[in-house]
Point group: C2
Chain length 306, copies 2
């Protein structure tokens, strides 16, 4: 099975308003709630593709109960192994402006996780690693979890020879990368924040020097750049993408991880990541992927060795 | 006891952000949740003043559970008589911009109430009216509740000789007022939408001609204007108010209703309404009132007969 870790899972709310005008009152036209947090999104894509997937991390409070109820309604072989906490799972609110299609994002910080809860998670994670073919560590850290949490979790995975992918930002990325994950998947902004360079190729090389075995950088409409022990590749989607990019990065992680777990070589991993990511941009709902577009795109993504 | 009806109760979220910039992502600095909806706010003020208060309306889903849990933590003699429904209680989100103090409001529409749930509420309301000294009908209607709901509830209260106050807007106000409530409490914008006049005195006279026995219009910093069978009065706070006006109208309703239930004459009702309203603007938390300011303001509000 593939394990995804979401320490700061979220109940994602999407509100549609005719137009967002600060300092006025809005009647929300349509509201939707779905289970969220990067690792949860990755897991939902993996399960929809038919991969045995286990979700862990933390969930608590009424928002956590709703998250777990919605997660149970997901398509495919997805198991909920979230660790209960006293604090409440955070909410995120995406306010989509119907006039422009643009979203304004409001992200709660997340629950206070106690040292005992963090220790309980650590035990659970160790047990889950035994059956894992690969593990993804995704997203921000809630208050109370040590900033070096990902470095610790990476070392545990590596000690058990489970390939580990890290997708986070800021200080948790900086510290995590030093623990030598198999793959890091920054986007262009995260790479730039980490390395100070806005040119993806030198930035990815720098990121790799900081400890990652491979760097797979997602570059939005430009696809993906991978610097790996086996070579350097760029994979690009066939045409400029139109649609909602929410969740495209999480779908790319699902593509990389599922292909890695299947033992596929890097060019095939990149094709899967880029086509799933593009199929997510094309889907009408945020964070879902269009299965038809995915099948079409798989044969249309171009990979070139650099 | 005093009964307050909130058909579209809410879980009110307040988010503080450094500055709200549409189409960007925000990390929420501080988030708070409290039980909301106009009638719930009125009830919390009444209970804090020591009045036996009963809250009814609808609550459902995980958000409804949280609302009820928070309501149980309120100060004073407050009883929860909310009717359970299958749909989920709506959320409202107030995004407070720390740079300016201004709030951007996002209000979900509310749950779909089934005909059977509306009938169950109607039964419960009839039972609760038996022990009520006064009743307040407050706020918007959720989808599924007939637009003439308030007219129906007003007729039931009047048939049992329970004084009834209506605080709503739009079509529910227009229809409710025709059922001859004892008091309506519109604000200036609601009065203007109802009557087409932006001049409060002729607008309030027009509103009264539409069926209300008395009109008590809340005019923000200008206090309150009341046109009643006993006379016409204007009550004004002593000085321009600074602070957060959220909940000031609900505190005014609590003032009017508690004084009415105690059999006080109109000038005393207005003094209580205006001083509670002003003490709410002065309180640091949205929808709370400053008890010290209330005691001070009670002797400083000026009432003049017109």
């Amino acid at each position: 099975m593939i394990l995804t870790v979401t320490l700061n899972a979220a109940l994602d709310l999407t509100y549609r308003v005719p137009r967002l005008l600060p300092h006025t009152s809005h009647r929300v036209r349509h509201s939707a709630e779905r289970p969220g947090g990067k690792g949860v999104n990755v897991a939902r894509v993996l399960a929809a593709l038919g991969h045995e997937t286990v979700v862990t991390g933390f969930a608590g409070g009424a928002t956590g109960d709703t998250l777990r109820r919605l997660l149970a309604e997901s398509t495919g072989p997805l198991t909920d192994a979230l660790v209960p906490i006293t604090g409440a799972t955070r909410r995120t609110v995406a306010v989509v402006d119907d006039a422009t299609g643009d979203a304004t994002q409001l992200n709660e910080a997340g629950p206070d996780v106690t040292p005992a809860e963090w220790a309980a998670f650590d035990d659970r994670y160790g047990q889950l690693l035994r059956d894992a073919d690969a593990v993804a560590l995704c997203g921000s850290l809630p208050p109370g979890v040590p900033v070096g949490a990902y470095a610790h979790l990476i070392r545990q995975a590596r000690a058990r020879h489970v390939p580990v992918l890290l997708d986070t930002s800021g200080e948790p990325l900086r510290r995590g990368i030093a623990a030598r994950p198999d793959v890091v998947k920054p986007n262009a902004a995260e790479l730039a924040a980490l390395t100070g360079s806005t040119d993806p190729l030198p930035a990815a090389l720098d990121a790799r020097r900081r400890g990652a075995h491979a760097v797979a950088a997602s570059l939005g409409p430009d696809g993906m750049l991978a610097i790996t022990p086996d070579g350097t590749w760029r994979a690009t989607p066939p045409a400029p993408l139109r649609g909602n990019p929410t969740g495209a990065g999480d779908s790319a992680v699902a593509g990389l991880l599922s292909a890695l777990a299947e033992g596929l070589p890097w060019p095939d991993r990149l094709i899967r990541a880029v086509s799933l990511s593009a199929a997510t941009v094309r889907a009408p709902g945020a964070g879902e992927f269009d299965a038809g577009a995915y099948e079409e795109l798989r044969t249309a993504v171009r990979v070139e060795e650099l």
